[in-house]
């Protein structure tokens, strides 16, 4: 506790070295989550490594295969508004635009947000729906973990001690696919009671591909390939939707808390899924 320091390195190497040199140190990105937890006395880092000056964490790169690489220090606001996203990748900008409020979106970063895996946070489900991968850097190099594997348990991720989120790689979505994020919250800006993130591709009147992830309904975003498959080949009719929704609801493991009961959270999953499908109907007609 006596060695508390804040370091603001300019390179990723220096940041990692600093993390390594001081066990128990934590990375400071926008502060929206970490400082709130420090103020509440929930975390007491020995030292902080501020990432603000690490330029390599900021960039956005368009990949040759249509994918996008987003730096960990990308602010929610940027993801919400300055959209480089195409097709179903837009699930990310929809999710980012519903995080907290404009001021917090101006502070909070992609990396900072996902590093905590708050069950009510908006990015995790969106990243899973987008089939994104998380780029992790550590003393021994870089590794890439699928979003599904990255979120491990309540407030727990695949990050090991001394590792940082460097960024997120969002693969190209199918051409013509639609992204959407449907969030239910008590009031604007609250953590989600439950949310549905999805990417859907239509082929004529039926769904050719779908990827659904449920947020706010368990320790990690809930994604079931089986539920995706239930929609494929259908016209997203209420039967198919409710079957897929029920499957997801049964698999969900939501908390019972002041935001909502676990029963209610399960109950609204199929309903939010159906609503999300209805919400994207205009986009589908336009496509």
């Amino acid at each position: 506790m006596m060695t508390q320091t804040m370091i603001a390195p300019e390179t990723l190497e220096d940041a990692l070295a600093a993390m390594h040199a001081e066990p128990g140190s934590m990375a400071l990105a926008g502060g929206a989550t970490l400082v709130a937890m420090m103020n509440a006395g929930l975390v007491e880092p020995n030292s902080l490594v501020a990432l603000r000056h690490v330029d390599t964490l900021r960039g956005t790169r368009q990949l040759d295969d249509g994918g996008i690489e987003l730096g960990a220090m990308r602010r929610h606001r940027e993801t919400a508004l300055e959209t480089p996203f195409k097709d179903g990748q837009t699930v990310l900008s929809y999710a980012a635009s519903q995080i907290a409020n404009p001021t917090v979106r101006n502070m909070g970063t992609l990396g900072g947000s996902i590093a905590f895996n708050d069950p009510g946070a908006d990015y995790p489900a969106a990243l899973v729906a987008a089939n994104a991968t998380i780029l992790i850097v550590g003393a021994t190099g870089t590794r890439e973990v699928s979003a599904e594997a990255f979120f491990v348990d309540w407030y727990t991720t695949a990050l090991e001690a001394g590792e940082l989120v460097a960024g997120v790689r969002v693969p190209a979505a199918l051409v013509g696919s639609i992204g959407h994020y449907e969030k239910l919250a008590r009031i604007a800006g609250d953590f989600a009671v439950a949310s549905v993130a999805l990417q859907v591709t239509w082929s004529g009147d039926s769904i050719a591909a779908a990827r659904i992830a449920i947020g706010g309904s368990g320790p990690t975003p809930l994604h079931l390939a089986e539920a995706d498959d239930m929609l494929i080949g259908t016209g997203a009719d209420s039967d198919a939707l409710s079957k897929a929704g029920l499957l997801l609801a049964q698999a969900a493991d939501p908390v019972d808390d002041v935001r909502a009961s676990a029963d209610y959270r399960r109950k609204v999953i199929p309903r939010l899924l159906a609503k999300a499908m209805r919400e994207i109907a205009p986009a589908r007609e336009a496509a």
């Binding site: 508390q4 502060g31 709130a36 404009p102 001021t103 502070m107």
Partner: protein, 156 residues
């Protein structure tokens, strides 16, 4: 352990002492003698502590003082004075949108930043922009109308 940091607030240098967990809010209020920035929740929810850092609104309670050393901080004291209020402040004065006033500094910061970005903000844009800030007295309508008035006045 505390260290010395020099903050640039409202165009002036303030040498301050800050520990690892010391927030910008605490330093502004306790060391810079700038109590206009209010502490309402210390969790980043209420918005009463909003200030501009590098011209963008942030929560001073979620910003660490030591993370602000090379950034320009603007507080409510820096956006206008009683004698020379800015456009948002003047509109709030003229429309009677202020009640207890505790949320007002944060509201002014949020609205000032909003109009900087969207000088022609309509009601819906203003409602979105001010959703960062809680007010328990007004019911918001008059505040939204005041900011809309400020936008129209600035435009004309």
């Amino acid at each position: 352990m505390t260290e010395m940091v020099t903050l640039r607030v409202n165009g002036r240098e303030h040498p301050c002492r800050a520990g690892i967990a010391t927030t910008l809010l605490t330093v502004l209020r306790d060391q810079c003698e700038l109590p206009g920035t209010k502490r309402g929740c210390n969790q980043g929810v209420c918005g009463a502590c909003s200030v501009l850092v590098g011209g963008k609104p942030v929560r001073a309670c979620l910003t660490l003082a030591t993370d602000c050393e090379d950034r320009e901080v603007t507080t409510i004291e820096g956006v206008g004075t009683p004698a020379r209020p800015n456009a948002v402040q003047q509109a709030l004065i003229d429309t009677g949108a202020v009640q207890c006033g505790f949320c007002t500094p944060g509201m002014v910061i949020a609205a000032t930043a909003l109009l900087e970005e969207h000088p022609d903000a309509d009601i819906e844009t203003i409602r979105q922009g001010l959703s960062s800030n809680l007010c328990r007295c007004s019911g918001y309508r008059k505040i939204v109308e005041a900011v809309s008035l400020a936008a129209r006045r600035t435009a004309s």
